[in-house]
Amino acid sequence: MTAQPNPENAPLSALPLDALHRARGARMAPFAGYDMPLQYAAGIVSETLHTRQKAGLFDVSHMGQAILAGAGAARALESLAPADLVGLAPGRTRYTQLLNDKGGILDDLMVTRLPGVEERLLLVVNASRKADDFALIRERLPQFDLLVLNRALIAVQGPRAASVLGALLPGAEDLPFLAWQAFEQGPASVFVSRSGYTGEDGFEISLRPENAEGFVTALLDNGDVGLAGLGARDALRLEAGLPLYGHDLDETTDPVEAGLAWSIGKRRRAEGGFPGFARISAGLRDGPARLRVGLLPMSKAPVREGAMLITPNGEVVGHVTSGGFSPTLQRPIAMGYVARSHAQTGAQLATDLRGTRVQLDVARLPFVAHRYFKPREAA
């Protein structure tokens, strides 16, 4: 049997909740410089299903959190990212990307306009990219303060997430999707955002590291809550059709071909003023040359990242960027980039899997429908 890969030899940082994870049976693995819980005793399949049925609790404290502060910060950040950040109302969160000069994605991130008179943006970025992101922002926007936060970050995801969190933080269950609020818990402030990365309704909760264990233990006292690791997180986000930086997104992909054009505001499409505007604008107008699509392998074996996608004539027209087994659908699923000529739903492609040809059908994303919390509109 192949030894478990351990590509990172550098010393690993420990999460604030490292001891709790180990005490509760986590199998730890290196990820983005951290020793992270990959799975617990229940295993990836059951952690994934528990999240879809009740509530999964994920420690995502490895991600980067920072506040960009100063009058004009939103306008300035628009010079690096294509979302409408100026139009972001206080207490609201938006998804966007940091772009290089060619419109390639340097990272994807969540931006929240914090309430209050002072203009402050809370940024949550990927662990693997945080050092580069923060260096870029400091270099390109030197007139603003960038305060990197040392806080734990916990995600509670699933249909029971709202009732579970509301029992600890009354009022949290009423937050709309992509809204943010600070709750006072004793002397400390707990930041709650109704967001996540599983396709389920849920929350991301940022709190001081010394308060994390008590808070998480209180959540876990609720029988609906089960710990879930990075393995389940990856399965859930793939089922939900959500791209992962370093796999489905990188510096060569732009937001339009990545299927993220929805995150580029109307004003920004017209005005531009972000890196790579020429390429992105052309992609919006004419359609990109390639597209991120869902793929359903017609096999029992999963088709993994890196597999080449070929037409019946043998022409290579794309590749798989994420692939695995869906615990919810009990079958292999994948995502990848495909030339637009072959990107329509139902198109039949193939790949070679250990010498056997496997058919993959282009499929609509997501594989598992999103269930974000959208309060009913007033009649």
Partner: protein
């Protein structure tokens, strides 16, 4: 004495007459987590010690299983086609992978016995 032999790659081999039943250990199945597919060789395939014998797909990754000894595949566990999770549930019994006709019985001598494997696991 169970007649089990083990490799450092966490395969086991159980001698039954002139054949050997090959699978992965309980430690290995725990490391892999939920197993969703097992790619088994064809009957008749000849393998040399250390060459690829099968591929086990867990939710998260594909892992190769290496032949613990040189030989010929004379039977594969067809039940794994429908129930790959047997490898998780019962790695040493219902979750066996293949039966080999052992070509050079001397090779088994170099493999660890149960006590040796238990000691080896403690070093990991």
């Amino acid at each position: 004495m169970t007649g089990l032999r083990f490799t450092k790659d966490h395969e086991y081999l159980r001698i039954e007459g002139d054949t050997a039943v090959v699978g992965i250990t309980d430690f290995a199945q725990q490391q892999l987590g939920d197993i969703v597919f097992v790619d088994l060789p064809k009957v008749g395939k000849k393998v040399t010690k250390g060459s690829e014998l099968a591929v086990i797909e867990s939710v998260k990754a594909a892992s190769e299983v290496y032949a613990p000894v040189t030989g010929e595949v004379i039977e594969v566990n067809a039940e794994l086609g429908e129930k790959p999770a047997l490898v998780n549930e019962s790695p040493l019994d219902g979750g066996w992978l293949v039966k080999l006709r052992v070509a050079t019985p001397d090779e088994t001598a170099s493999l660890m016995d149960e006590d040796g494997y238990a000691s080896f696991l403690k070093t990991l």
